[in-house]
Amino acid sequence: MERREALKLTATVLGGSIIGSQLFLSSCAAPPKKRSELIVDTDVPLLDEIGETILPDTDISPGAKAAHIGNFIQTMVNDCYDQEEAALFINGLETIEEQSIEAYGHGFVDLSKEQRLELLTKFDQEARQHKLLEKPHFFGMMKELTIWGYFTSKPGATQALRYNPVPGRYEGCIPYNGEKAWA
């Protein structure tokens, strides 16, 4: 039990690169989820657009939508979140829709790119405040799921990063000149 333990512990200590809240890691027994507490297929287009706003398609690499981020988030929230976390997340989706309509008169998917960015930036600032207080915030979860899902997806790992499944050797000290990170 060597290296991986170190990396796991390091990830925990440093706040981790894995899905948001400390709540996520708690293992308290939860009753079975009700249907209404799951992310449903009709949520996927909204999740795709939220993800695409966080990590958009650019000349350099594809966006989160190309990584099917909505499907990924659906799977992770439904399978890996407990009831409380899933509820927080799903309420968050509703909050985004409500505030989108309130501010712009349209649901999130019908907003312009600029409007989407403006709205999510507001939630992001809230989430960052919560993070300082070590409180979970739905947008913190969405953002971290998006980032994690994207960079471990095929388009994310192979185009936004450099993916080399069989390096063949290790070179410890090479110059770095602004290249993409290794996946």
């Binding site: 060597e2 990590l55 994690w148 390096p167 410890g172 000149n177 290794w182």
Partner: protein
């Protein structure tokens, strides 16, 4: 499964030490039966995830919430995840009783935990063998470094251990393949220690990886490590050592090996007339059929605590308290490695350096405590595993957008360099740390459950405190920022270095095994896995188990041929 039931030797367990017993005994011409309680796992063929990409895993490596809830124990194990779960047990299948919290991590399959081990292969120094007696925290080992050194070499050459010859007293050199390189931050860490901490050495660890395979490795069908660092899935290249990739197929080639999976050993049968063990009672885990296999030599390599369990359950008129247990020593002096604490931080100034490939090894700061003389308020030493890495950026500066195109591009670049350290500390074997059989609870096969009663003591607390203090000093001197440290207070067992219970010693009154891992009171039974350990040292123990096993097996084979056994 119809098969003959008479063999020259029986090996209980097919993990890292059982595989070595099988190899050596088969090579010596003994018809050998290896009993494995789990399923068969064939090299490459049975590594279902070995070439999967991150996106091929439904949950990208994580287990589901329901799975964590059903398996709170095993999911804690180092390296456990969607890619490796099939090489670990499930909690509900294999209960035990925790008198005190103890995380007993198990991998029940052919190859055992050799598929999922940490792969660090440092030799013990003679100081480690001598310290328990010298400083009064244990009995004398019946062997010293010189007894084991040739067997370390024997094992190193065969399994392939890469490392540097560093000439460090706390960590003797061996027969090494070329080491992996250090990265530039690690070189900086090394030179900082050299300059500011005399007597502390940061070097590459020694690892069971084929950095440059030799003929004997190619003959095993293994090839060069490809630096994927996905070892615990099973390696399609045979780049790291496991029983599955190495010792078992090698033993099989002799024609002398029989492996029987799905065979849990109930007990070793003692024959009053001969004063020896006659064989083992086995239960087929699927059919629950009982059977007996006989042999002139029995090697117990069931993993440290299961070897204790089998011996405790091997009751006879002569040994009502378990085989060889005339004195209530069996199951006592169980110990482990103290893995509780770690430290780390970020380091600036190396932004124009990077690396290529995923190195499967770590650096080590060799033990610097209580080596030649006692220099702290605790006994025993600790090794520090350490290294530097540079992951993808996880954050962007506060003053730039936290969403959008530029954000994505920044996250696509390497982030800060980071340094980590964590301890692997010696613990004191003591009679109160023990395992024993449950009086009323049994498993699915009618075998009593094991009770673990193992905990930390004051010495462990002092060692944790010393590591935390010293590691912070070293990190500060290296120029680390954003320092952190932690004491996880994890339960014993999660180190997966549980040892003892059937300890070696010179005196049959205070030990169960002699200098050849042979039971004092039952000469044809050898215990050569972690159960045999008299003390824990501070090095990763697997290679010592392998060396002791090879040594004992050759001794046993000689005794067999001379008709002594």
């Amino acid at each position: 499964m119809k098969m003959e039931n008479q063999f020259d030797a029986i090996v209980i367990g097919s993990g890292i030490s059982g595989g070595w017993a099988a190899k050596e005994l088969c090579e010596q011409g003994l018809k050998t039966l290896v009993l494995e309680r789990g399923r068969d796992v064939r090299h490459i063929k049975d590594y279902p995830t070995m070439t999967m990409n991150p996106w091929d895993f439904e949950h990208r490596g994580r287990m589901t919430k329901a799975f964590y809830q059903e398996n709170p124990l095993i999911t804690k194990a180092a390296g456990y995840g969607e890619d490796t779960a099939h090489f670990f047990i499930k909690d509900a299948d294999h209960p035990y009783v925790q008198e005190k919290p103890f995380d007993w991590i198990r991998g029940y399959q052919v190859g055992g935990k050799s598929l999922i081990w940490g792969r660090a292969c440092q030799r013990w120094s003679d100081y480690e063998f001598k310290a328990p007696k010298k400083y009064g925290y244990g009995i004398e080992w019946p062997i010293g470094y010189n007894d084991v050194a040739p067997w370390y070499s024997h094992v190193e050459k065969f399994i392939g251990v890469c490392g540097n010859e560093d000439g460090i007293e706390a960590m003797p050199d061996g027969e090494f393949l070329p080491p992996f390189e250090m990265n530039c931050v690690e070189e900086h860490m090394q030179s900082t220690l050299k300059e500011h901490f005399p007597g502390r050495h940061l070097v590459q660890g020694r690892w069971a990886h084929l950095s440059e395979p030799e003929q004997v490795h190619l003959d095993q069908g293994r090839g060069k490590c490809q630096c994927r660092n996905l070892c615990m899935r099973g390696c399609p290249f045979g780049g790291y050592f496991s029983s599955n990739s190495s010792t078992l197929p090698w033993a099989e080639k002799t024609g002398n090996l029989t492996i029987r999976p799905f065979s849990v050993v109930h007990s070793i049968l003692y024959d009053e007339a001969s004063g020896k063990a006659s064989g083992v009672k086995v239960i087929d885990t699927n059919t629950k059929e009982e059977m007996v296999y006989n042999a002139r030599i029995i090697f117990v390599n069931a993993s440290a605590l299961n070897s204790n369990l089998i011996l405790l359950n091997s009751k006879s008129e002569r040994f009502p308290n378990g085989l060889g247990n005339d004195h209530d020593l069996l199951g006592r002096y169980v110990s482990f490695h103290n893995y509780r604490a770690g430290s780390g931080g970020a380091i600036k100034g190396f932004e124009d350096h990077y690396y290529y490939g995923s190195r499967p090894s770590e650096c080590i700061i060799a033990n610097y405590r209580n080596l030649k003389e006692r220099d702290t308020d605790f006994v025993g030493g600790y090794t520090i595993f350490t290294g530097a890495y540079r992951n993808r950026a996880e954050e962007v500066p506060e003053d730039v957008p936290q969403l959008g195109a530029d954000f994505k591009h920044r996250l696509s670049k390497p982030g800060d360099w980071r340094i980590y350290m964590y301890m692997q500390g010696e613990t004191i074997p003591k009679p109160s740390n023990r395992v024993y059989l449950s009086g009323d609870k049994t498993d699915d096969w009618g075998i009593p459950l094991l009770v673990t009663d193992v905990g930390y003591d004051e010495n462990d607390e002092k060692m944790v405190a010393d590591f935390l203090e010293e590691s912070q000093k070293m990190l500060e001197q290296m120029g680390c920022t954003d320092l952190y440290s932690y004491d996880s207070k994890q339960a014993p067992g999660l180190d997966i270095h549980e040892m003892g219970g059937v300890r070696m010693g010179k005196d049959p009154k205070t030990s169960l095994l002699n200098e050849f891992n042979q039971m004092h009171q039952c000469k044809n039974v050898f215990v050569t896995d972690g159960a045999c350990m008299t003390s824990t040292g501070n090095q990763s123990p697997s290679i010592l188990y392998m060396a002791l096993t090879a040594r004992a097996a050759n001794y046993a084979a000689e005794q067999f041929k001379n008709n002594v056994l």
